[in-house]
Amino acid sequence: EPEVTQTPSHQVTQMGQEVILRCVPISNHLYFYWYRQILGQKVEFLVSFYNNEISEKSEIFDDQFSVERPDGSNFTLKIRSTKLEDSAMYFCASGGRAGGSYGEQFFGPGTRLTVL
């Protein structure tokens, strides 16, 4: 069964460094998302992406964050200058396959980002 994949599974970085988190959504899906979950807290929406542009973003998604779909398969989240509070599990999700149930979002396994 198709699934969302994410790399790396764990990323450790120094404060102020740039990180790029990578995702391969399910083929034929049209909508892509990033969420994050700080340890012990709720899953929070960051950004949604459709038709090669951001469709919605949260207040968390400030100028330090950017997303890109550089080719037909990858979807990336870049954090330009990481802060300690960016430490979290980052989830990619996709949805909207042709003929699929309206609104379902399927999540990847996550990338655990640790900022030191």
């Binding site: 998302y33 709720k42 929070e44 949604s48 989830f91 999700a93 996550g110």
Partner: protein, 111 residues
């Protein structure tokens, strides 16, 4: 906010028992989804129920939705130790908007 909130926060049962988790939300929705998360792992999609549906089944899972009370319940029948995980409800509005997650219910199923 369309925030979903689950209760109880934690549930501990024996294998073979049924587990019921509840979710409440605040605004109108198009659908409500339930997810499972094993400790430190990814979110597994369990079931989606639309606002015009009242009940849905998938294997040992039964989900109900009461839009008049803005609440949903997830029932796991004949629980197994492998069902031990956190369970989250997530609501959205129109189309493919963001999902709003609740804080989750931590379920522990003891052999």
């Amino acid at each position: 906010s369309q925030q979903g909130e689950e209760d109880p926060q934690a549930l501990s049962i024996q294998e073979g028992e049924n587990a019921t988790m509840n979710c409440s939300y605040k605004t109108s929705i198009n659908n409500l989804q339930w997810y499972r998360q094993n400790s430190g792992r990814g979110l597994v999609h369990l079931i989606l129920i639309r606002s015009n549906e009242r009940e849905k089944h998938s294997g040992r899972l039964r989900v109900t939705l009461d839009t008049s009370k803005k609440s949903s319940s997830l029932l796991i029948t004949a629980s197994r130790a492998a069902d031990t995980a956190s369970y989250f409800c997530a609501t959205d509005g129109m189309g493919y908007n963001k999902l709003i997650f609740g804080a989750g219910t931590r379920l522990a199923v003891h052999p």
